[in-house]
């Protein structure tokens, strides 16, 4: 992943996280605000319902008081026969706007009932048991009617004539009409629950009664609570009010429900807008970060490309230095560094050249000095014999010239090897079976292995592909490595030549069990004229490396002192 991509990812991630965080905070805060407003709205409606309830109670109280204080009630109280007043309750209820009205004798017998006229003569014992009803507030009461029980807001009054009394009890039904008379804001509704399973709404039946089923049980536990029911745009927040009558008897529950449709729509709109803004912000952020990262990373990219060029050997690469910022300073530092590298390389090359010449001179001096010394001794011997023993001069001369010729031949050989090294020909490549080459070489060295007490072995990969190489040069390489291994094991040992197919090419390994090399010796192993042996020119491994290099291959040595050395060559 490029620096620019990584930077772009980081900036994009930062933008996304920032936008998401802002969106989450805004949405959350707004939703909380809406929720609070919704709760206040429901509370307001509940308060409105309570006021309406209280107002209806006052109306009922006034009406009952008016009837109890009327002359009609007084006449009934005074009457010895209540039968003529059988229909009176209906008339009085209608005149006073009451749904329910009963005129009850002092013994609790119903004189007249507006809501259930047929109940005359039946007892309303709760009135008698209630004692003095004067001054008591309205209360909820469940009334049994011909078509089932109802819930009503009732009051009780008394008409007294001496020791005779008539109870006047009546009120208003809490029913569909009562609910529909409540002025509700849009999106709100009121549902009345009457046990065991009656749900009444302003329009009569409640179509989605099952929504309220889970709330009934809690409401019937005398608990007032608010709860969200349903999901999505059909969700409602429902405030449950247990309807408790006297004496602390639960008659039902009232559910004030407020639709959350507007809230959900608002949240949805907010979320959509937020998502749109977020996506837009992210896209803009990505575009800006794309531009910014491109701008920021271009000098870095140029620097990286230049560094790669430098790594590839193009040391005189320079970059354009920008403004005086960190990147500009870096570019200038890079340019200085490459300039310094070029200068150092030149100095190094020069130093190495000098060192090579010195080494060459030293080796030449060393190699030439050995034959020169016998030459000098021989010549001095012949001069001394001419002067001191002329009779032996011929003998000395014959031996001396022989020695001189031998040493001259030696000098010639030395100079030839140096000449060979300097005149390494270009490889004549052809298809080469390396396994076959290894087998031939091992066979060639078999007598020497026997003399040196070396157990030679080869491990050849049958899948080894043929490569394009100069057979002569590769044979020279292998022979050189085998000779090196034989030299490394003067007391005998084991030699292994191994081939293996590798990534379309081959690997060849020549390992021995000799004394091994130190890391420093490994580093200098392929340096021309470097040798760890007492004899040799130090050009063998240098020639090997030169051949491998000419074949675009690689050679290296791995060794541990006392455990032998392995030379590995990758080709192809």
């Amino acid at each position: 992943m490029t620096f620019r991509t990584r930077l772009l990812w980081m900036v994009t991630l930062a933008v996304v996280v920032s936008v998401g965080l802002v969106e989450w905070m805004v949405t959350g805060t707004t939703r909380d605000a809406f929720e609070r407003a919704e709760a206040q709205r429901v509370n307001a409606l509940v308060a409105q319902f309570r006021r309406e309830f209280a107002r209806r109670g006052e109306e009922v109280d006034r009406a009952i008081g008016a009837i109890a204080g009327s002359e009609t009630a007084l006449n009934i109280a005074l009457a010895s026969d209540y039968a003529p007043y059988y229909n009176e309750a209906s008339t009085l209820a209608s005149a006073n706007g009451l749904d329910l009205l009963e005129l009850v004798a002092g013994d609790g017998s119903i004189i007249s009932s507006a809501e259930w006229p047929a109940r005359f003569g039946y007892k309303e014992d709760w009135l008698v048991a209630g004692g003095d009803w004067q001054g008591r507030a309205t209360f909820l009461r469940r009334e049994e009617l011909a078509d089932g029980p109802i819930l009503a807001l009732v009051a009780v009054g008394e008409a007294r004539a001496g020791d005779r009394r008539v109870y006047v009890t009546g009120g208003q039904r809490l029913d569909r009409a009562f609910l529909s008379s409540l002025v509700l804001p849009e999106g709100m509704r009121v549902v009345l629950y009457l046990p065991p399973n009656q749900l009444i709404g302003p329009l009569g039946s409640v179509p989605d009664a099952k929504v309220f089923a889970p709330l009934v049980a809690d409401a019937m536990n005398l608990r007032e609570f608010s709860r969200v029911v349903g999901a999505g745009s059909s969700a409602e927040i429902v405030h449950a009010i247990p309807l408790i009558g006297a004496p602390h008897e639960l008659f039902g529950a009232l559910f004030v429900a407020s639709s959350r449709r507007d809230l959900v729509q608002m949240e949805t709109s907010l979320r959509d807008i937020g998502v749109a803004l977020g996506v837009g912000g992210i896209l803009v952020g990505i575009a800006l970060s794309w531009w910014a990262t491109a701008r920021v990373t271009r000098p870095v990219r140029v620097l990286a490309e230049s560094a790669q060029k430098v790594a590839a050997g193009n040391w005189d690469t320079t970059v354009e230095a920008g403004p005086e910022d960190e990147i500009g300073q870096l570019a200038r530092a890079f340019n200085r560094m490459t300039q310094e590298l070029v200068a150092q390389r030149e100095r190094l090359v020069q130093a190495e050249r000098v060192a090579a010449w010195r080494e060459l001179a030293r080796r030449l001096a060393h190699e030439l000095k050995n034959p020169l010394f016998p030459l000098q001794i021989t010549v001095e011997n012949m001069q001394r014999a001419r002067v001191q023993a002329p009779e032996q001069f011929d003998e000395v001369f014959r031996e001396g010239t022989g020695t001189l010729l031998a040493e001259l031949a030696n000098l010639k050989q030395i100079i030839g090897r140096f000449s060979d090294f300097s005149k390494m020909p270009a490889p004549q490549k052809q298809t080469l079976d390396v396994n076959h080459l290894v087998a031939d070489t091992m066979k060639f060295f078999e007598p020497q292995f026997a003399l040196a007490h070396i157990a030679a072995k080869s491990d050849l990969d049958p899948r080894l592909p043929a490569i394009s190489a100069d057979p002569e040069q590769m044979a020279r390489v292998l022979r050189n490595l085998v000779l090196n291994a034989i030299d490394a094991m003067p007391q005998g040992g084991a030699l292994l030549v191994k081939t293996a197919a590798r990534n379309g090419g081959i690997r060849m390994e020549v390992s021995d069990t000799g004394q091994g090399l130190t890391p420093e010796e490994c580093d200098r192993l392929f340096t021309p004229y470097y040798t760890t042996k007492t004899h040799g020119t130090g050009l063998g491994l240098a020639i090997v490396q030169s051949v491998i290099s000419d074949h675009q291959g690689r050679i290296w040595a791995e060794s541990q002192p006392g455990k032998g050395t392995a030379f590995r060559i990758d080709l192809g």
């Binding site: 003529p84 059988y86 259930w116 006229p117 047929a118 109940r119 005359f120 003569g121 039946y122 011909a146």
Partner: protein, 336 residues
């Protein structure tokens, strides 16, 4: 001085005699709740059919109005009234108002209106000639249901309040004034026993329907339903339900002769013909037999009641059996 007083007394007596002397002429305005929708005037039954002979139909609009004019050739002589105009289909409450406003001369009175008729009060009542009873359909085959309802009905409360003590509580088909033994049939409610009978019934059979014809009978039907509820029976009330399990019926006794009256009643309510009875004991036994199965539960015998405008003289205009006898009536104002 004596002559002066004598002359004054003679004048007062002459005036009084003039006031009680029948006048010819005038139209008697009658209102009835029933609405006779036939093409021709009724020829039988109580009410308008009773006018035949003394009066002749001169105008007939079924269900609305009928005008009967005096028959100049009536067997007993021409009636005093020139005509009788009958408005049909008038609710009882409006009839009372019309009487009070003097827009009507003779109106029908329901039980509550009989006691609360406006002053100056002038009422004609017949003997208790209408039997109010519950009649079970053949579907109600379980006698326990029928007996339970018979025991559940609190006749006394209905009589005291809804009927304003008009008529008589009864457990018999024939009224006391005709049979003389009606008091022998039990009328007292026994809710405990009724509950005992219904306790063994399955819930489906406890649900019954009760139908009534006239709107005035609705309170009685509803009270009976309430009594039935106390006994463990679920009775739903509806008007003019031909398929009801129970009917609250009103049957008129049209004959003073007990056996004929009983035979007619039995036929009217779908009971078998009573056995021949020559003695009161036999008649009682025959009626007892008709009632034993509780196919019919007699409740009350009610009289006919009419509110009458004080200007109507010569009454009462009805017989003990409730038949109209308008031929002897005359109006105080006479022909105008």
């Amino acid at each position: 001085m004596f002559f002066r007083w004598f002359a004054l007394l003679s004048a007062v007596m002459a005036l009084a005699a003039a006031a009680t002397r029948p006048h010819y002429g005038g139209t008697l305005r009658v209102e009835v709740e029933a609405s006779v929708e036939t093409a021709d005037p009724p020829q039988t039954g109580p009410g308008m059919a009773d006018l035949s002979g003394a009066f002749l139909v001169t105008r007939w609009e079924g269900g609305r109005v009928a005008v009967y004019s005096a028959n100049e050739d009536a067997p007993g002589g021409r009636p005093f009234l020139d005509s009788v105009e009958i408005q049909m289909g008038r609710p009882l409450r409006e009839q009372v108002i019309d009487l009070e406003l003097k827009k009507a001369d003779v109106v029908e009175l329901g039980p509550s209106e009989v006691r609360r008729a406006p002053a100056p009060r002038k009422i004609w009542t017949s003997a208790p000639v209408r039997l109010l009873a519950l009649v079970f359909s053949e579907r109600i085959s379980d006698a326990r249901i029928r007996e339970a309802l018979a025991l559940a009905v609190d006749r006394s409360a209905i009589h005291n309040v809804l009927l304003q003590r008009q008529g008589e509580i009864t457990g018999a088909l024939l009224p006391q004034w005709i049979s003389g033994y009606a008091f022998l049939f039990p009328t007292v409610a026994d809710i405990g026993r009724a509950r005992g009978l219904t306790a063994a019934l399955n819930p489906q059979s406890r649900a019954l329907t009760l139908s009534f014809e006239a709107s005035a009978l609705r309170p009685i039907a509803e009270r009976i339903a309430l009594n039935a509820r106390d006994a463990g029976l679920g009775v739903s009330v509806s008007q003019r339900n031909t398929g009801a399990d129970i009917r609250l019926v009103e049957e008129r006794i049209a004959d003073r002769q007990p056996l004929r009256a009983l035979t007619t009643l039995a036929a009217a309510v779908g009971l078998p013909q009573p056995a021949r009875a020559d003695t009161p004991e036999d008649l009682y036994t025959a009626e007892r037999a008709l009632l034993d199965a509780y196919r019919i539960i007699p409740l009350f015998h009610l009289p006919d009641g009419y509110g009458v405008n004080p200007r109507v003289k010569g009454g009462p205009g009805i017989t003990p059996l409730g038949q109209w006898r308008f031929s002897d009536l005359w109006l105080e104002t006479g022909r105008q």
